[in-house]
Symmetry: C2
Subunit: 399 residues, 2 copies
């Protein structure tokens, strides 16, 4: 029942169309996973998320273990019932947040939270040992130990279909020696995560191995070999992806080429439109990023370039839209574009009404799902010869 | 076409069931009018407002003339199209906001706005003359003159079905002499408002006279006589309603008894559950208040008393609901109660996720509409004798 099936492998690149079958539903890949960090997609109801064509959402073990606590979500029947989503879900292990916050913050998401709670620039990571990671709660300052086993237990309580092995998210500024030690500890933590699930799980949850190793080919290879050689359901590419866009793409391409082709590959935290195209061409099956709803709250709507003077984003808070009675995007069938004008949305932003961000969030979720549908159709229809379908999709979307 | 029809007059009180027929739809009365102050009901989409059983919404000429400007809404096809509501609407004249803000702020709503823009405690009212009111914009500090004719022109641009004559909202702290002068000026402004609409209107908008006169019977009488003797479509009771709940009820009862029974009566800005019951018994047909969505954003849900230990409001931000898997109200069919637990909503408030306020807003809108339906059914079914239906409704809802 729980499986990843290959539907079509492109003849021109590593791009592929697949199908992830989970106990709570099917995900056609390549797919975008929307972030419901604290068990809600910010500013929209779960039905608005669903009606915008969403296949799968993810929540963060780190946030939910601190508030409301994973036992409360378990008592509610798991995240599916708690959130009203009742579809395929993924949870991360908490590792990314613990370490990115702990090292002083690389994730702006975490920086934002820290700021709100008076922990700005305060390192909350206390100690990394073989056992696990000791850190301070950003909510009440309490010391909390998280081990691979504890992370798995939390993710079992949360009850998502896809869960992620506990790893150290190696900081981007460390040297190769530390990156290697960290990756090797993450391998041992990955094995403990896998063993815990194999021993205690009921088969309704499958685990992804996180591939670490930073920008170093030999370390990525060692991490990939470990994951290939154990019965993880799939892979998630994490850690430092370099300093430039080009380096990021090179590392994604290199890392993915090392992985067993019969399993699904997730790229953690990447959501730019062009980055998604490159990821797909290198064989990535799923992506996640907070950006579609975060940029929406600042007025930014995602559009095909021909609807925005060759750009991918249009800023609805800009006064140029004050009297513009057309929808955000003329070719869009989302609730927002079918119901409201740029002028109305611009007015909501000028008036600081939160509904403006919610309406653009609905549009951006719909648009990301539409982008992924276009990409899947592009791969399916592209014959590698006369019908250059994937190229057309790229030209439509990328600037 | 545009009419107010009496369906049933209670034999026990002045309570009545009626039907307001407007070009954009029918309103069964007694009805609650939800505030879309800046052309949106805060935190919810217009479809969520509609699906919660709403018959009519109101917007504020004052806010909309300043942002985005009434000409832009006119260009969009009026408020119905701009907001996507496309149903019955009411706009107020701007008088209440100009004067309540101008006199240093009695409306907490306006105080809130002033605070956000650095105008806290700053009197923005510059000069009241026979011509109209000169005030400063809370947005950019510009001097703006509003006259009865300008208010009507703005309300024509906005295009609501029911509009309100321009009046001075007499402050609560002034003496009888000022209250009388102010009421008499409001009569003259009311006549200018009516004349403007009679001369320039196309019949798709009807005007309500505002009844002023503060706490003084003779002044209320003079104001009511004026309104009765001119062809206003209906009435709106405004101005100071005294200092206590009892005084407020007495003034509403007294004022309403002076008004022509064939026309509809709106009570401006009152929305407490028990106040609505008293208003209905004194013959009020429509009510408006920002409270259902405002209190929602602070975690407060409206419930029948038997679902909340004899109270009308339950605070979902309270940790007692942390592990409570039941809905806000067990007898409620709203989207929120059908989909989410108290535990989930409590979590959203603890996590400062705005969705919590949106979900309670949906519940509160649905609940206010349900209360009004119960009241209408109570009046219809009450035979004044053995079937004490209205009493049962009161006992269900009031603490």
């Amino acid at each position: 029942m729980f499986s990843f099936k290959l539907i079509k492998q492109s003849s021109k690149s590593k791009a592929r169309v697949g199908r992830l079958i989970t106990p709570n539903g099917i995900i056609d890949t390549p797919a975008f996973i929307f972030c419901a960090t604290k068990a809600d997609v910010k500013g929209v109801t779960i039905d608005q998320v669903r009606n915008a064509g969403t296949q799968i959402i993810l929540s963060n073990a780190y946030h939910l273990m601190l508030q409301p606590g994973s036992s409360i979500i378990k008592k509610s029947g798991g995240l599916g019932k708690f959130t009203g989503w009742n579809g395929p879900m993924l949870t991360d292990s908490g590792g990314f947040q613990i370490f990115s916050l702990g090292h002083g913050g690389v994730a702006s998401e975490i920086k934002g939270i820290a700021r709100c709670n008076g922990f700005k620039n305060k390192k909350t990571m206390l100690k990394i040992s073989e056992e696990g990671a000791l850190f301070r709660s950003y909510i009440d300052g309490k010391k909390i130990l998280i081990t691979p086993e504890i992370s798995m237990k939390i993710q079992q309580d949360l009850g998502a279909d896809l869960i992620v092995s506990f790893d150290e998210c190696t900081p981007f500024h460390v040297d190769k020696k530390y990156t290697k030690e960290s990756m090797e500890r993450s391998k041992r933590w990955g094995l403990r995560s896998l063993n815990y699930i194999n021993e205690t799980g009921d088969g309704t949850q499958k685990i992804l191995a996180v591939i670490q190793g930073g920008v170093y080919k030999d370390l990525r290879e060692e991490s990939a070999d470990f994951a290939n050689n154990h019965n993880f359901f799939g892979f998630a590419i994490g850690g430092s992806l370099g300093k430039t866009e080009q380096e990021m793409r090179d590392i994604v391409e290199m890392t993915n080429s090392m992985l067993d082709k019969s399993r699904s590959v997730h790229l953690l935290g990447i959501g730019g439109i062009e980055d998604i195209f490159y990821g797909v061409m290198y064989g990535i099956d799923t992506f996640d990023c907070v950006s579609p709803t975060r940029i929406a709250r600042h007025g930014m709507a995602i559009v095909k370039k021909k609807f925005c003077n060759g750009k991918n984003y249009t800023d609805l808070s800009n006064s140029i839209y004050k009297e513009d009675c057309s929808p955000i995007s003329e070719d869009c069938n989302c609730y927002t574009c079918q119901s409201f004008s740029r002028s109305y949305i611009n007015h909501l932003f000028k008036g600081k009404e939160s509904l403006g961000g919610s309406l653009i969030s609905i549009h951006n979720i719909y648009t990301m799902n539409r982008l992924m549908t276009d990409i899947r159709n592009g791969i399916i229809n592209d014959d590698g010869n006369t019908n250059n379908a994937m190229n057309s999709v790229y030209k439509d979307w990328c600037v």
